[in-house]
Symmetry: D2
């Protein structure tokens, strides 16, 4: 099975790290640390090997991947000498990047624009002789987009897309194009993407799976590992406060209160679902440009124990955003391709382990999510 991985935001930090990293692992330069699907639990799932992945994508930035990779090396995200060692793979991916939405080619109705995107996907699949292409949105987070009546059904939506006007945000146009082209679609961000009834209808009609959304790579990852501890021990969490300091492009986007809001909503949901009630406390997302590719989260949890005694847990997470995200992109590509091959369509709740706001699932506890994923891997292996 040859699998295309089509990255929306193909010249961003995450996408660049994905391409550099896949090349480094394939060639044995680096071990596959951080790749969940490379662990023994997934050995029998008949996933496409990393070797089988072919990269392409949409973007409107024009810094070439090689330049971007060199900058990531200067910023300590990838080892200093690695970009030079994988220029071949970077150039190959570079050759498969097409202009995304929001650039100079944005004329016409949404339907016309979607058709252009579909053309790019189909051409990629055909030219590169791929069995399937998984589209993964790793572009910047959009502000929340208001729901409209046209989102309720596919027919109404397509009618509206054929008229002038913006009935969908960009992430959903990408999702539409992917599904319409018969490509599975994954939302790595909290943007709307495929999460509309009309697009769910399209996915089912086209027989393709989709998943998301908002990868958990830091504060929420730790939160969903820790919150079940309080629940299991019958300790009463009274407040959970968090501050996230982010640099890089994502920080700038989330500093916009509207986009930040999307993120906070998905961050807060997990906690109240796990603890089975709303706890006090706010979550801040601050843009701190000097943090660069790094992020720091501080969380403060106040809880009551036996006889009302108040106690505290605090944690500080200091991570590199792209390094945390990139291996998950590879995992999602492989798992989703395999699900497609196995005939799955519609939402993939089994991918909840990867997401802050898992489509089709209200399970947020990290270990429980992992067990679901592992069980699914066994199933996929058995059904191969």
């Amino acid at each position: 099975m040859r699998v295309g991985v089509w990255l929306v935001g193909a010249r961003g930090s995450v996408a660049t790290t994905v391409v550099v990293g896949a090349a480094a692992i394939r060639s044995g330069l680096m071990p596959p640390v951080g790749c969940v699907t490379e662990t023994p639990d997934f050995a029998g799932a008949e996933l496409p090997p990393l070797d089988a992945l072919v990269f392409g994508g949409h973007d409107i930035a024009d810094v070439p991947l090689v330049k971007r990779a060199e900058k990531l090396a200067r910023d300590g995200v990838v080892p200093p000498l690695l970009p030079a060692a994988v220029t071949g793979e970077l150039d190959e991916a570079e050759g498969e990047i097409r202009e995304g939405l929001g650039g100079g080619s944005d004329a016409g109705t949404l339907r016309e624009r979607a058709d252009r995107l579909i053309g790019d996907l189909v051409s990629f699949r055909d030219r590169r002789e791929l069995d399937r292409v998984v589209v993964i949105n790793v572009a910047s987070t959009e502000p929340p987009f208001e729901r409209r009546p046209e989102h309720a059904g596919l027919e109404a939506l397509e009618r509206a897309m054929a008229e002038p006007g913006e009935v969908l945000p960009a992430s959903s146009v990408y999702a539409y194009a992917a599904l319409r082209a018969g490509c599975p679609y994954i939302d790595f961000t909290p943007s709307t993407g495929a999460r509309l009834p009309a697009l769910d209808e399209l996915a089912r009609r086209m027989g393709v799976p989709y998943g998301g959304s908002d990868a958990k790579t830091g504060e929420t990852l730790v939160k969903t590992a820790l919150a079940p501890m309080f629940a299991a021990r019958a300790l009463a969490v009274r407040s959970w406060s968090g501050t996230n300091l982010l640099g890089g492009g994502d920080g700038a986007t989330l500093a916009d209160p509207a986009a930040g809001e999307s993120k906070k909503v998905s961050k807060d949901r997990a906690l109240s679902e796990i603890l089975d009630r709303r706890v006090e406390g706010q979550t801040h997302i601050d843009y701190v440009p000097h943090m660069g590719e790094w992020k720091t989260a501080w969380d403060h949890v106040m809880f009551e124990g036996f006889l009302g005694v108040r106690m505290t847990l605090q944690f500080t997470w200091q991570g590199c955003d792209s390094a945390l995200a990139a291996p998950l992109v590879l995992d999602l590509a492989r798992l989703t391709a395999r699900a497609h091959q196995a005939g799955r369509f519609g939402p993939l709740p089994e991918l909840g382990f990867f997401f802050k706001d898992p489509i089709g699932s209200s399970e947020h506890r990290l270990t429980a999510q992992y067990e679901l994923l592992r069980a699914w891997a066994v199933e996929l292996g058995a059904g191969a």
Copy 2:
């Protein structure tokens, strides 16, 4: 079912908090926060109700429980007005405290001393008309005790106990007395207790269960909740360093390097079992008298992610030791009494959720331990 809870170290902070707390919850003064067996998952397990518990124990300290409770109130471990509200229950338990080992009555061979302890247990069970008595060791941690040939079998052990000399540490004499009297025995501390082949033989012969050891109430609790996150995400933990600051009696005991060593060994085992390898880093236990009943743990985890990027997680846990321990004593008493009633004997690996060094189990992952416990509760309920 009326259940005796016999606490070795009956006048210590943990035991006093247990008695005060059980009284407060029974009378509706306080909710059962921190009591795992009061959560819905255990509602069907046919556990003896908190009302059914009758307290007694051994100690050589002579501060009355009421005085000790008042001191705990001044130190913020129990609410200021609570001791006065439960003096009846404190006096009742006070009346069931007998002199422990190490006091003025320690004449004779170990066998003679054990017989005195057995007499205390049998008298308690008979006088108070109890269906069974669970003995729980909440005394100070002992230094490690060297293994001897006599520990290998019951016959050899009993022969040695009838001679002069100290073939067993105090915790194991208590365990011997409990098992010999037909009472289940739980090690809340890392002391040797029942963990000797000879005592296992005795437990099986007498048809009583035992469990332990070293309750996890702080740093290790958080560690065993967090370490599986790194494993599930295929992140490579390179070092895990920890410092524990403890006041109170336990702090003073553990400041003795020999006793501290017992604790560190059980603390470190969990990590290497979960991560499937030895990671760098030390664990310190410091006695800081001014911390009083409080403890603080700081842990620093350095891990590598994708392409070798180094990242860090730190946490600080600030807890009240007795408040964390006391509800678990109630849970263990209820679960062990129920297991005994259900005919279980020998080690109880299902209690691993409560311990740093679970007898009969190498599972240290907190969530997995909880699932085992929950499943067992269902079984116990079904078999009632």
Copy 3:
């Protein structure tokens, strides 16, 4: 010298802690921990002794001081048995509390209301035979109050106060009343208080000193101790981010974005003055009701060292607000009374050590502020 200490907000946590604490120290029940003016550096300054302080104040709350003190004991702010030991002193202060602004007596123009306050102050001074009365505002923080032309001069202000309408916020009416009654005035909060040209004119005309504002008792205290370290070592601070979690009354007030804004402005000023430039980073103030009387601040400092290497300092401060504030109120009362006696009038920049936003000074470095204060104490001693 007998000195009256008139607390605006006389039934709040800070004021209650002041009265309880002063009584406990006088009677030898507790040592004067936290009282700067009780250290050897101030022994020669001829300050009025703690014995010489007589308490009264304004408030509109009606919970008696004794009840409030008992609640503070339950919350761990004062030792459990202390309120009962000082009921005499609490009752005495209780007898000197008068209704403040915002209550039922608020009829008439601002001038009429101010006259009522002045009457309260004069009566207190006369009845209790006090040499002087220092008024200290420890009430809740007000939202920022817009500057008006009438604030520019005393005559215009008094004219406006004689008309209907609210030309001043409450804190400034208290300041006006104090100064007009010949009483020194101290702003413990960031509210406007005496910081208006018209009130400065009044202070000079009446020959009374005033000081403020916004006592530094937590995050800013640590910030102004640490920031000079970076400056002295030529390390380039790139970002300084902070999150403050507050319960209690002050937390609720500051949760109002407008009032929080007053606080943040005074918090941020210190940093840019010390580091001689604006650094990235936000300061959050979150209201977390379950924190009660406690507050926690987490600060994250990112700095560059030699050859641009990025390094980090983080701190967490966990304090009890009233316990941090109360001894400073005693210090300020004693120092200000002594300054008044020594003939000082107008702003007292020497008090900058106590404040986030020191009146009449741009020195924010804690040690430098302390040296100024200490030198002033020597001067006051010499001039006695």
Copy 4:
């Protein structure tokens, strides 16, 4: 004035960073961040400019400076492209490195070995036409060396040095050689170095100054900035506990309990001097090889405030050891050369700002130390 900087441990991380950094600053590639003597406060002190410094030193490692610099670049201590940009300067310094003690040339008595070192220093000074040479010990920390009667006076010492046997540790032989050659000597480490009465006698006789010891670059730096805050606010520090995680060569050395002991003693002294009493708490130094060039310190301070309320301050310092140390080496070289030029000899207590265990001074408060240094700079400027 042309000044030689002779580094004992010339191929270590600190020394290499010094040479790379000095070259980068001189050539304008990097700003002098972290160099105290480049700030305006020192502009008038007539210090030798960075341009005037010429590097050499002793070492027994044989990795060339260029290779070492490349490794530091890979480890993120110096910017990736910098070593290549300053190979000229690295090669120049490389040419001035001579074999240190402990290598193949160690035959003969200590006196003979010292003579060889003296020859190296004199040759460096003559060949390079230097006005003076400052010797700075940046080698690994030695274990404590027992005091001997021969250390009490120069004559006895020199007699013993002429016999077989090791009457001095290596650091003191270097110090002896420096002083005997008329070169000022600075101890950057806690090793014995010049701190012996016999060597003080030699320094005075030769008219050269010396200073030290144990540069404060992390935990102690923050400690001595923060401890005065508690003192100034009359807060009663009850415990101060610290854990230091170190990788790199220094970590390995200090993991040896004996060498670690030297370090801990100098770390603890500061605190008790500033707070004027001994506080509870231990300081741990852990070797964590994976930390590489980085170090992390966590400190936990428990203090009591008004009425005995217990509060907590914690900090975490994450720094790069060589980046923190290197600019101070440049500062010390410049200041010491200037002091020598100005005719100073014997200990230089004014350098206390840089050290954990300042020779000739019991002042540990960071700000007070800075003020002493600044005042001295003014004096040096005036006396030029």
